[in-house]
């Protein structure tokens, strides 16, 4: 199988030849790869070098942790790559942004109201969790479309609280 794996904007052509061989950008590596403890923890030997990594998926992005580094990777197989090629980029730009609760918590305040224009970095909502007040900011400029919560509300993890168009 051939994949295009992208980390920090750089693409790697990764071909999985068989259980023991991987080709990255034309260079062949001998690998020995096993999951550990029935967990998303992996031991990988690459040409004798040992890597003990935690790899998990978070909304289509693979997070890879080892040696103190965290790498965010997207992995596309050939079909997905072609599909994306035909669609072109730039769709995400104009999509509505949904502010979802990053953890369960208590809404402390919502300093914006529906229809209000916001700049990138403006505080949209203050959420209290683990005894900390966390300011959630707008990732881009736009207009507040809908506010679904009010101060005092308890929200669940990933619950949508408001949106910016």
């Amino acid at each position: 199988m051939r994949y295009l794996t992208t980390i920090a904007g750089k693409g790697y052509q990764v071909e999985i030849v068989d259980e023991r061989h991987v080709i990255v950008d034309g260079v062949s590596y001998q690998v020995d790869f096993e999951a550990v403890s029935d967990q998303p923890v992996y031991t990988l030997l690459v040409d004798g070098k040992s890597y003990d990594a935690h790899v998990y998926q978070d909304e289509n992005v693979w997070q890879v942790l080892f040696h103190g580094g965290t790498y965010s990777a997207t992995v596309e197989d050939e079909r997905e790559k072609r599909l994306r090629g035909s669609l072109g980029g730039g769709i995400a730009e104009n999509q509505e942004y949904y502010l979802k609760a990053p953890m369960p918590g208590l809404v402390v305040s919502v300093p914006v109201s529906e229809g209000q224009a916001v700049q990138k970095g403006d505080v949209l909502l203050i959420l209290e969790s683990m005894k900390m007040q966390n300011e959630l900011k707008s990732p881009r400029a736009g207009q507040v479309a809908r506010v679904r919560v009010k101060p005092g509300d308890r929200v669940e993890h990933k619950e949508t609280m408001l949106s910016v168009t």
């Binding site: 103190g68 197989d77 953890m103 969790s129 683990m130 993890h157």
Partner: protein, 509 residues
């Protein structure tokens, strides 16, 4: 004397105290909220009683319930840990009235130091230098504070009078932004401590946060156990502590000066039990009293490891009316200790707290590594309490050895199920500024970056290997795809059973 201790706390510190009690042959009583029925403190204690629902105000802050449980199970002492009821003078007094030994200072000392403004005024009178601010002026309203601010000078800090741990704290750069920040600070203080009073204080620039651990018995003896360096902070939350301070290093004279000022401060208020005097120290080694913590602190283990003195056991001995186990000249400092606070928060997402069930963990062990934790595999990290899940404390003969050991401990440590800040600490251990001991309280927010390159350092031969990460991500994704394909195949087989069944039914008609 007492034989049964109720620990009015949860998490790692409750476990820490239970361990000390058990090693002293004392019976232990845990209390728990509904979120903590399976807490390690419940599992490890001799007895355990329910306080109430998960939110702190319905459980760990319910002084009345704690006292009722103590009465019911015939406990004869209470250890409050840190946070929750630890610095509530009324609770300490209520314990005494109920005939319980409160393992901590007298209610009057808690009261004297609990009001930060009053504390600063008290110590200023005793000749301890304090940071310029509205200390001792009581509860001022916003107008008064806005009036005083320019006289103190900017930048300044708004701090919660009842506060601690960075809650209700805001830094103010100019008069213009002060009103909204006052409002935010009061709101946070009100929510955290039930008291919205704040005071303001000059910002000491390039300051280090250095604190001195003291022990005082009820017989008039008081000693200090040297200092801890706590300048590695983010949003005024300590993230890492060291003993000794690399800034003080082997300036033994300065250490003894700070230590004796701390002892004098404790004696000025007839302090009994363990406590901490916090100082700000500027680059010229001018120092200012900041506040006194009239309780055990999160970071007490670094002092324990360097001095060999078990601070919790000393607290218990003092509360039992014994004289101190050590004289000042017995206190020796051996090597260096570093503590990293492992929090359930995501350094890659603005340190947002993370909750969930711990699905896997692999603890660092071996020489010179201590772990204090209240979590284990299967435990649910809830949103109700602070995000501290464990403390890694290492010892080294030198600070260099301690840093190298912390690196390997962090590399070994795995916690799955909640995001955590291990990677943050790993970057910190690689930071040339940190390694050089060249940092102040603003270091993390202003000069440190998770992206190693940006600090411009090359302290370690960076083994940044995105190609390996690409192989790992691809192999895992590939495996997942294969497994999904396999499951579809299996389902097809399952369907064939249905086909077989229907055929059989047709035949048997």
């Amino acid at each position: 004397m007492f034989n049964k201790v109720l620990i009015a706390n949860r998490g790692e510190i409750a476990v820490r105290i239970i361990r000390a009690c058990r090693e002293m042959g004392l019976q232990t009583v845990a209390v728990y909220s509904d979120a903590d029925r399976q807490g390690l403190h419940v599992r490890y204690a001799d007895e355990a009683y329910r306080l109430g629902p998960a939110p702190s105000r319905d459980s760990y802050l319910r002084a009345d319930m704690v006292l009722e449980i103590a009465r019911r199970c015939q406990a004869d002492a209470v250890h409050p840990g840190y946070g929750f009821l630890a610095e509530r003078a009324d609770f300490a007094a209520a314990c005494q009235q109920a005939g319980l030994v409160f393992i901590g200072p007298n209610p009057s000392s808690i009261a004297a130091m609990g009001d930060k403004a009053l504390a600063r005024a008290t110590l200023a009178r005793a000749g301890v230098p304090v940071v310029p601010g509205t200390e001792g002026e009581g509860a001022l309203n916003d107008d008064d504070l806005l009036d005083l601010a320019p006289k103190i000078g900017f930048p300044l800090l708004i701090k919660a009078t009842a506060g601690g741990g960075g809650k209700g704290m805001r830094e103010v750069g100019s008069l213009a932004e002060m009103p909204s920040l006052l409002q935010a600070a009061r709101r946070e203080a009100e929510s955290a401590f039930g008291d919205g009073n704040v005071y303001i204080e000059k910002v000491v620039e390039g300051a280090r946060h250095v604190e001195v651990q003291i022990l005082a018995d009820g017989l008039g003896n008081a000693i200090h156990l040297g200092e801890r360096e706590c300048s590695i902070q983010r949003r005024h939350q300590k993230l890492l502590e060291e003993c000794p301070s690399p800034f003080i290093g082997d300036d033994e004279a300065f250490r003894q000066t700070l230590g004796s000022v701390a002892v004098r401060a404790a004696q000025a208020i007839n302090y009994v039990n363990a406590g901490t005097i916090e100082f700000l120290v500027d680059k010229n080694k001018n120092f200012y009293f900041l506040e006194m913590n009239t309780r055990l602190q999160v970071e007490h283990p670094v002092t324990e490891i360097v001095t060999g003195i078990d601070i919790v056991k000393e607290q218990i001995r003092i509360a039992r009316g014994r004289s101190l186990h050590y004289k000042q000249e017995d206190v020796r400092f051996n090597g260096c200790a570093i503590e990293c606070r492992i929090n359930a928060e995501d350094p890659n997402n603005n340190f947002m707290p993370s909750t969930g069930r711990i699905t896997h963990t692999l603890l660092p062990t071996g020489p010179g590594v201590r772990v204090d934790t209240g979590v284990y595999i299967g435990f649910e990290v809830s949103p109700y309490y602070d995000s501290l899940i464990s403390k890694i404390i290492v010892w080294g003969e030198t600070r260099g050895e301690a840093i190298l050991r912390m690196r390997r401990a962090l590399e070994e440590y795995k916690i799955l199920g909640v995001r955590n800040n291990i990677a943050f600490h790993q970057r910190l251990m690689d930071s040339p500024h940190f390694i050089a001991g060249y940092y102040d309280t603003r270091f993390i927010e202003e000069r440190f970056s998770l992206d190693a390159d940006r600090e411009g350092g090359t302290a370690r031969q960076t083994d940044d290997r995105p190609d390996i990460a690409a192989i790992l991500a691809t192999l895992v994704a590939h495996q997942q795809t294969q497994r999904a394909a396999h499951m579809i195949q299996r389902n097809e087989r399952d369907t064939s059973n249905w086909k077989w069944l229907s055929r059989w039914e047709r035949l048997s008609k």
